[in-house]
Amino acid sequence: MNWNTLLFGVFPYIALTLAVGVTAYRMVYRPFSVSAQSSQLLEQKRLFFGSTAMHWGLVLVLLGHLLALLLPKGLLLWNAVPVRLYLLEITGLGLGFWALVGTYVLLARRISVARVRAASTGMDYLVLVLILLSALSGVLTALFYRYGSFWFPAVMTPYLWSVLTLQPRPELLLDLPFWIKFHVFNFWLLVAVFPFSRLVHVITVPLGYLLRPWQIVVWVRKLAR
């Protein structure tokens, strides 16, 4: 087994197993801990710039990746017209850059604001560093290996599907440049860290809020029955 197989054929399964297994364990046995601790009480201004940029940047960029995973053909068809390709690439690059700046602001804030530092754990820093590297390598990839939206459907979509369908084909990545491989590996690393860090809060997105009644009344007595 070579490094490529280890990193892109074996490690993804370790990461995914951890992500699913540990998250499930944490939800059932440690529900108190399934959340991301907010530090907005301690510092507001820099959080506003950092948090908004990082979250929305990441959410939208990830949605883009997801789209390429689910609708590779549609993406290629869209890109058939150059203007549309440029539009997509510029938007993606912009969002990636936005997320990168936001993450940097958050990391700098966590290190330099004494109150926030006092409320931070080692994992908080690690997560931010990993996201920063992810955004950085993503932006570099988009800049130097154009056009991602062209080759992603050809290389990454089959690779990701091969992993998800349990027939890994890590060799697809063998000849890719360093930064792209780095970006992919970093992603799997984030997946592995996910259940052990504040990243788990991703699963708590409260979409139920759109539907639930405004008021919640609980009968302790009836609940017990």
């Binding site: 959340s35 530090s39 008021q215 302790v220």
Partner: protein
């Protein structure tokens, strides 16, 4: 009619001496922990003042409570979609500096300082960072209006007051203030519950206590902003929101909440109120001037056979119904109409009630009389005190604590709700003073009593419950029978010989 019981507290503001014993009892019991140092689930404010957190009544800024517009009742904070959109940053959240940075002193310095010319001092350090700091604010920095007139001048409740009246409030030798102890109001229409995207906050149907499910709380902090009373706090160390729990573990074992139990002025009363849960929306959706009436309307008469039958149908047992009938709250709130909720215009239907203060009264009348008799300055009147009170009775608008101000606090600005209360309080005071000090009641006092709408028996009952109540009369607590509820959760016999019901996780934040 859906009858439910509510365990409520009443604050008789005339009796509050502003000693903060309540706050300390609460702090010692519940918030003396890391991350909770800055929280005061019970706090006592000097009014006029800006309170704690500073300026909490400024809803333009903090966006708490509900807004009633075009037949709709909406959270001032957000719509559902906006709530999700603002998950990553909540623009209306107070920052720690709106409360204060908690501090302690480095006492070890007193022992470890090297020998020298000067006395060693314990320097103040932040309880968050541990670094030396200069304290510049606190939860009662403006206690008794000390230090600076700035706090009093910035009180939003002074809005609509005559500038002249406002100036009188802070006149030298005429300065006036009162105390306002506050806890969570365990509202009927709580904004904190409605604002929580995770649905982590709930109201207990049994007794109305509003609680945060700490396992479900995901640190979105919307409740902190949405509560118009700023009575949900965010614990920066555990990453969870926390609030006053009305000492439910004490209630369930037949004890009054710690703040009420320790109250030095004995200003606090606890009791059950029955209310109609079906009519809550209706009560919250009326114009400002009818809010108090509509809220009192859904509080039901516990002696009415129909109400009793409906209460039984909802599963309330005899013990609770009896507690509701003996409730001092019911007397103050519904029978005598002496108590009002704080800031009804927030439309959360606050269920803690306040008897507005009469005490800091006579000054402007006194002054006017003095002037009319050609006496200026500090000369005492030679009118007997009793006459002075009659003067005030007819001129309540001249009371030292302006009626408008009290109306802004307790009646959505409606003076007509405050005046009858003050009249009743004053009438009882006059009557009892004549009875016990002046050896007999005058015609005039009886006339005043009738004018205030009280009978002699009522006056006597108000007097007794105000000044001479025993502990059991102040706190009429319902029988919870939680031991039976526990039986349904777990088989107590299965845990016989063990130290408890199992393993409880320590409340530490996730990595």
């Amino acid at each position: 009619m859906k009858v439910r019981a509510h365990v409520s507290m009443l604050f008789h503001l005339d009796k509050c001496i502003g000693c903060h014993t309540c706050s300390i009892a609460c702090k010692n019991l519940w918030t003396d922990r890391k991350g909770a140092e800055y929280m005061w689930w019970n706090n006592v404010e000097t009014r006029p003042g800006t309170g704690y957190p500073t300026g909490w009544e400024d809803q333009e800024r903090f966006r708490g409570g509900w807004e009633y517009k075009d037949g709709h009742l909406d959270l001032r904070l957000h719509s559902r979609a906006q709530g999700l959109f603002r998950l990553f940053f909540n623009p209306a959240l107070p920052s720690l500096d709106d409360y204060y940075e908690p501090y302690t002193f480095r006492y070890s310095d007193l022992f470890t300082s090297p020998e020298g010319e000067d006395q060693p001092t314990a320097i103040p350090i932040s309880m968050i960072t541990g670094e030396p700091m200069t304290p510049g604010a606190g939860p009662n920095w403006d206690d008794d209006l000390s230090g600076s007139p700035l706090y009093a001048a910035n009180d939003p409740n002074l809005k609509g007051l005559d500038p002249e009246v406002q100036a009188q409030l802070s006149e030298i030798e005429g300065v006036v203030f009162q105390y306002l102890p506050r806890i969570c109001n365990h509202c009927l229409n709580p904004a904190c519950v409605a604002a929580c995207p995770s649905g982590a906050i709930y109201k207990r149907a049994e007794d109305g206590v509003v609680l945060v499910n700490e396992n479900k709380c995901k640190a979105w902090r919307m409740c902190v902003a949405a509560c118009p009373y700023k009575k949900v706090y965010y614990n920066w160390a555990t990453g969870k929101s926390e609030k006053c729990i009305l000492c439910f573990p004490r209630l369930e074992t037949g004890q009054a909440p710690a703040c009420a139990h320790s109250c030095v002025g004995r200003i606090r009363y606890m009791g059950v109120l029955l209310y109609d849960a079906d009519r809550i929306p209706e009560a919250a959706m009326v114009p400002d001037e009818r809010l108090v009436e509509s809220q009192l309307d859904i509080i039901l008469d516990p002696f009415d056979p129909e109400v009793i039958a409906a209460a039984r149908a909802e599963g309330l047992d005899e013990g609770w119904i009896k507690a509701a009938q003996n409730s001092p709250l019911y007397k103050f709130v519904k029978v005598w109409r002496l108590a009002l909720p704080l800031h009804p215009e927030y439309r959360t239907l606050a269920m803690m009630f306040y008897v507005p203060p009469l005490s800091p009264v006579v000054a402007t009348v006194e002054k006017a009389l003095r002037a009319s008799q050609g006496n200026g300055g500090l000369v005492r009147l030679d009118l007997p005190e009793s006459n002075l009170d009659f003067e005030l009775y007819d001129n309540l608008e001249k009371a030292r604590m302006p009626v408008e101000y009290l109306a802004n606090l307790f009646a959505a600005g409606k003076k007509e709700l405050i005046v009858p209360i003050l009249k009743k309080l004053l009438a009882v005071r006059l009557l009892k003073r004549q009875e016990s000090l002046e050896g007999g009641v005058t015609e005039k006092a009886l006339r005043v009593l009738a004018d205030a709408g009280l009978t002699l028996e009522e006056a006597e009952a108000i007097y007794r419950l105000t000044t001479l109540p025993t502990l059991e009369e102040r706190f009429v607590l319902p029988p919870y029978h939680r031991e039976m509820a526990a039986e349904v959760w777990k088989d107590p016999l299965a845990a016989k010989g063990e130290a408890g019901f199992g393993y409880v996780q320590p409340p530490v934040r996730g990595e």
